[in-house]
Symmetry: C2
Subunit: 413 residues, 2 copies
């Protein structure tokens, strides 16, 4: 008898009929004889609705109170699913983050799981309950409710799978797997059969929304097999697993993009030691996520420094940078919100040379200007004009021959 942790996202539990549908699926899986833990998100749109209420009260809601508020969404879906499972004849119980023994640090709205006390859930599993758990939330050491950031329910599910020593973690969502790129932009994008943790991690952090970055970190660290599947149609999904030798045969496995970034340039920065530390120190204190950084080496003792941040944090970042500018005697700060990022990812890059050169020539041929570049062992990202992003995605997807009907594993042979 195995143990499976399943997670269903917001659209999968978006209304009563869909919750009943999830209950049928879970009931069907339960009848195969495995023990089941089911992690749920809030109904789709609910968390945004709650956040909106908070911002109708104040422009700067306390994050402790915001967590108290937005953690309620999952606490509505879980008892409803438990009731639906009971109606189908199963023993079922819903548990909040606290009741599941999920402990986090105190970083409200983006807390990290520090410990899961598996006794809370095992007590019910051992008594043959289907355990339905509120995703996205935990409890800090001083007993406050915390949330894990956008997509946090993925992390809840994988972390529980690890803590409970599950056989696998199944992520059910509104797409039937991880694709070579967004099928809305490239019609012949392909579902990937198997992908390595490392590639999935790059894809998630580069803006692919199918899994929360931290959930992939957890899965990678503890080698938990994760499969991404559709709630609404049958299919094999995409397995996220350890790197396999066949994966290296593929040069590039996916094209990822992100249109939600902004670029800031500090003009006339004195080219002295310690200046960059000062700038990034200020930004880090406010926990703004800086993505890329470029510094031009100047000739006149002055230099320009560009960085990119998520567009939602641009206002806050500009305020901080404008203060820093005065302090370090730079000239000014410019903001450019019309940028986008396009990236290619693949473990094959490690063993194949010339991938970067091919990327640059593909974009150059299409007359797309590259403004910033960042690389890692298995990815290359370029900042370009936002208006060029869709076109760049199509060119790269075709140029690296990611399209077609056949699943990737076969094509690689």
């Amino acid at each position: 008898m195995g143990l499976i942790v399943q997670k269903y996202g917001g659209t999968s539990v978006g209304d009563i009929e869909r919750i009943k549908n999830v209950a049928k699926k879970v009931s069907h899986d339960k009848q195969k004889g495995d023990r089941l833990v089911v992690v749920l998100s809030a109904m789709s749109g609910k968390t945004d609705e709650l956040i909106k209420l908070a911002y109708q009260i104040t422009d700067e809601p306390s994050e402790r109170e915001l967590d108290m508020l937005i953690s309620t969404g999952e606490r509505v879906t879980i008892p409803l699913l438990a009731m639906a499972l009971q109606k189908l004849g199963h023993k079922a119980v819903s548990l909040s983050g606290r009741q599941s023994g999920i402990f986090t640090d105190a970083m409200h709205t983006k807390a990290r799981i520090t410990k899961i006390d598996k006794n809370y859930v095992n007590k019910y599993l051992n008594d043959d309950y289907i355990v339905v758990i509120a995703g996205f939330q935990g409890i800090s050491e001083n007993s406050n409710v915390t949330t894990l950031g956008r997509g946090g329910s993925d992390t809840t599910a994988v972390a529980l799978a690890v803590a409970l020593n599950a056989d696998k973690c199944e992520i059910y969502t509104d797409v039937d797997g991880v694709y070579t790129t967004d099928p809305n932009i490239v019609s012949n994008a392909r579902r990937i059969e198997r992908i390595s943790y490392e590639e999935m991690l790059e894809m998630a952090s580069l803006g692919a929304k199918v899994l929360q970055t931290r959930s992939v970190e957890f899965a990678a660290k503890y080698r938990m097999p994760v499969v991404v599947k559709s709630t609404f149609k049958e299919g094999p999904g995409t397995w996220v697993v350890e790197e396999e030798s066949s994966m290296e045969k593929v040069l590039v496995s996916s094209v990822v993009f992100d249109k939600n970034q902004a670029k800031m340039t500090i003009v006339g920065v004195p080219d002295k030691p310690g200046i960059a530390a000062k700038i990034f120190g200020v930004i880090a204190r406010e926990e703004i996520n800086v993505d890329m950084i470029i510094q031009n080496v100047g000739t006149s003792g002055l230099t320009d420094l560009s960085l990119t941040v998520p567009r939602v944090e641009a206002g806050k970042a500009m305020k901080l940078l404008n203060e820093a500018v005065k302090e370090i005697n730079a000239k000014s700060v410019l903001i450019d919100e019309e940028i986008g990022k396009v990236s290619i990812v693949g473990v094959g890059m490690r063993s194949h040379t010339g991938v970067a050169a091919k990327l640059f020539s593909l974009l150059a041929d299409a007359n797309i200007n590259i403004e910033m570049i960042a690389t890692s062992e298995i990815k290359i990202s370029c900042i370009i004009r936002r208006a060029d992003v869709d076109r760049a995605v199509r060119i790269l997807h075709a140029g690296f021959q990611l399209g077609g009907e056949a699943p990737r594993a076969e094509q690689a042979q």
Copy 2:
């Protein structure tokens, strides 16, 4: 420096503007220098909405899961008020039932508070926080979320006031006090200045909705002064306090009615010992609230037995009684949903004779038939046709001279 516990009901926090309005009131009161604990209900209609979701899943939701679901309503209003108070410059924190140390028994959907650990709240009060607490909910010994039944936030507020040794408990609602009867039915109904715990208790259990019965029991037991006031307009409200000598001068202090009852009659009950015990044993096990009981003494060894229950529980009661009928060899069960109850309440009845006689003659003169009667030291209740209830209320309110402009205390002199 005193300590005040305030409670705001569902209409008082019905939308964002109203929550901001409550924040202003609380802020104003805080500036007087007292320490403040604020208990909130869910936004009006929210609890019903959640219950409706549950019944869309199943006709018989598990009460443990129902509590998990319906306890979320208060968890939305409390962080919103805490944010609004913070915006006004106060230190404020929202606490769930669990975080406030409110422990209950395990009777889901109608749990009773067993213990309040005051350290949870005092920690924040001592640090000058305004503490905003979710009403209606607590936590059972085995860590499940429980709720306290309709109007349970009143009980949360009074119980907290007792546990924290507050100077008083202020109940803010959409009416400006307790009235001699419903002003929607009798236009010259008067607000009562001061009323005894005992009278308030009878009124609450007879169907007056202004305070939950259990909250009055708590207040009475621990002699906590409670004042009922309007959130929306200034005024002295109604004080619920220990009996005062002036109160006895008033014959009757209020007329209360209840249109939500049903009467059941078991026909042809064998007139033997132990039969009634059998019938009520069945009903008590399912925790149906039986209100009145009448048994006709028969001449032929057979008798009829009538009882009243809340109309929402009539279906369940009928099912149980039909089973009991077979078991005890009675003939049949009849149900009558067209009944209503009208009651008069007043501590003055203890020392004045003739109140019952006057009641009966007032109703008889108006040609209103009394079907069942129940009395206590300070109240008389009559079951009549539901269609006659409004008329009966007007006749009794006028007959016992409860109307007029002057407040009750003055009129009594």
